[in-house]
């Protein structure tokens, strides 16, 4: 990777005020692996959703499409990610993101119809995502109705039939496991490649 543009991208890594240097380098490396040869010369490459979903960390996640759609900044809402979107994704899922950030993004991921509240349809899709999509693994409609009414009893404080962001955050704050489960770890080697480390010491 000796072209000017990729040098530009690499130098711009230090503009991101990152405390976890290793994570940033690794994220950059993994992102550029997803690009085609010709796209790497692009100043701000955008990776389509299908390619992002080939990442092993996201491949088996039940919410993979929603995650891409939430973090995507493209105008057509097609779920494609630039490197900055990718960094946004990683930082929201990292273990240093605060509870507010994580609950905010979790709410947006669970909000399947993007209307700002979790209504019956969103909750039903959420439960189906997490229990299985096929016919023999789904809950019956009676069980689903009962389950969602239980959920709404617990979390719908103003009794309007939907869960808005504050109610969702209230429920999340009482769930201490949430912060550690809402996490994605990018697989990476413990030490960066030697030439990269030397470069970044001096640049």
């Amino acid at each position: 990777m000796g072209t000017t543009a990729s040098q530009l991208a690499k130098d711009s890594l230090s503009e991101y005020q990152v405390n976890d240097h290793l994570l940033l380098e690794n994220a950059h490396r993994r992102f550029t692996e997803l690009l085609d040869r010709d796209e790497r010369n692009h100043p701000n490459p955008r990776v389509p959703m299908e390619v992002i979903l080939t990442l092993p960390e996201l491949k088996s996640n039940p919410f993979k499409t929603r995650i891409c759609q939430v973090f995507s900044t493209s105008e057509d809402k097609d779920g494609s990610l630039t490197f900055e979107d990718f960094l946004d994704l990683l930082s929201a899922f990292s273990d240093s993101a605060t509870l507010e950030i994580k609950s905010h993004y979790a709410f947006r991921i669970f909000d399947f119809d993007d209307d700002g509240t979790l209504d019956y349809g969103d909750l039903e899709k959420l439960v189906n995502c997490l229990t299985g999509e096929t016919e023999d693994t789904r809950l019956t409609s009676e069980e689903m109705r009962q389950l969602i009414s239980n959920i709404l009893d617990e979390s719908d404080i103003d009794k309007d039939g939907t869960v808005n962001l504050s109610e969702f955050q209230h429920v999340i704050s009482r769930s201490p496991d949430f912060v550690s489960s809402f996490a994605l770890f990018l697989f990476y080697p413990v030490f960066p490649a030697p030439n990269d480390a030397v470069l970044h010491c001096f640049i």
Binding site: S14, V18, L22, P43, G132, E154, D158, D177
Partner: protein, 664 residues
Amino acid sequence: MALSKNRLVVSCPTEEQNLIKELVALSTTEQIRKIRELPVSFEEKKHVRLVEKIFLKICHWSVFPLYLNFIQKCNRDVYLCVLLCCLLLLQLIRRFGYSIKSVSQSLQLWRGIMKEIGGKFGSSVLNYFVLLKWLLLFNIFSFLVNFGFITIPLLVSDLSPNVSPNVSFRGLELLTGAGYFNYTVMYYGSYSNETFRGLVDYDMQLAYFFTISVYMVLCGLVLIFSMASSFKKNYALADAASNSAWQLLCSWDFSITNEKAVNQRKNNLRIQLKESLSEKAHRERQTTSEQLKQYGIYFGSWLLSTGLAVGCGASVFYLCQYEDEVRKSTYCCRNPEAETLLVPFVVSLMNMVIPLFFSLFNKFEQYSSQRKQIYALLFRNVLLRISILGVLCYYWMNTVPQKFTCWEPMVGQALYRLVIVDFIFLMLGSLFGEFLSNVIGTKIQPRLGVPEFDVARNVLEIIYAQTLAWIGIYFSPLLPVIQILKFFILFYLKKVSLTHNCQPPRRSGRAAQMKTIFIFLLFIPFFAGALSIVAYTAWSLTPSEHCGPFRGLNNTFSVIGEWIDDVNKLSSTQWVVWIYQNVIRSEIFYFLITLIILVLIYIFWQLIQGRKELIVLLRKQIVNEGKDKSFLLEKLQNLQKSSEHISIVPRQGMLRGRQSPMRW
């Protein structure tokens, strides 16, 4: 590790991007020339941004002398010069900071491995490794403190212990801790009670006493604070119901990457959700006879478990007495040192085998929630280990001082043996528990499947190991060294065993609450027990007369009394004496403190009750506000409709006016 992005790249206008692209393509002298030619009439903000960005591109160590040269020469663009200097400095600091941070992060112990484990197996398994690392740090601190304050002064002075010439190092000492080790600085007996006169007067007695007590107090404080913060985060603010639907849905682990694991989790989540729906129905349907049968099973299994624990304790006691008699009677025939390994062997064997019985009982019992099941199992295991340790400590405190002249090293050796044999059994346990289960599960009996990592059992094992070290610090100051080696090897062993033999847990456990329970267990039965044993030894037992730093005294605490007498002689430190007499030794002080603390607890309790009522009221208020909102919206809609009606109908009336003017 917070990622906060500097939005420079995205939000800068394109003309600056073009400028940068130009600059990057030029050679360095050209770049400098171009900077000089920058019009100073930019708005300050833009200027700063642009210049900083240029610096990011061309700030290179090799160019540094050129910049110095350039800055020296420029006298016209003073503003630009000063700006460039400051930015250069900032850049240097930032880059230097990055290198330092990246190096320090890569040096942090086991960070990469823990991330890997957390990613593959989830946070409940990660809790075990986090706890292991935490306890390792305790031991490292203990070793540094003990070695620095107690052992090094002894070694440096002339009073370092001499090994008698007829004792040489055989391999057996590594297991038994006796023999050659008895004469080294490993045990209490080799430490002297003199004061070293050198640059400073170093009183070995005070040093020994204060090092051990300060370490234990610090440990206690760290444990209390972490327990309190963990309790507040995971219990007080958390939802009490373990099976509530939201809890189950929100604790979906996003970091699982294995397809099969994801499917298994989905299956289990579905089962758990169905259980939570049918729980209430099930409870009502139980008949009286079924309930009686349930209670009978509970009673039976609890009786059996308690009986087993008590029985183990009694058998350990009789075993110790038997070993005593054997030692007294036969001195020459068998290897007396190898006999000392009998008690640790039996203790570790019990600790490994009896919990299997407890798991068996657990399978027959039907608890209403999985959490209660885990708690019951934990309680029984804790009871077993406490009873065995309690019996051993009773034996050491009561019988050993009468039998030996130099009894503290004997206790130290016994603890050393326990630690070593426990380590061997931990390794064997890993072999049988995980490796064999994996072999059985995959090849011989595929129905059982690959085993899961039993977090509770493993955590209890390391808590027990740490307790042995805590008890042993007083009798053997360098026991933490063994413990450090043990935990270090154990970490890698468990990690390898985990990745090769185990699968990720199928149920999403309540990892945060379990963590609180583990810290609580670490503190209340185990640390508090170890502290009370050491305190009892220091307070009531007479130190041995011919060896150790406290020889000749009535009890260890009288060291403080003597020290206060010495301090009393100097007039400048009378306040220390005053504090000792009126605060530490007086009962009124403790009585007053206790009274004040009780009053504070009552006040805080009442505050909590008030807050709970306030929460109920606030919830009602939110519901009412919602109703208000919908009422107002309805009213507004009605108003709108009626106003439309008013504005539309007149036109209709006028159209129809010829037909029926009187209609409205």
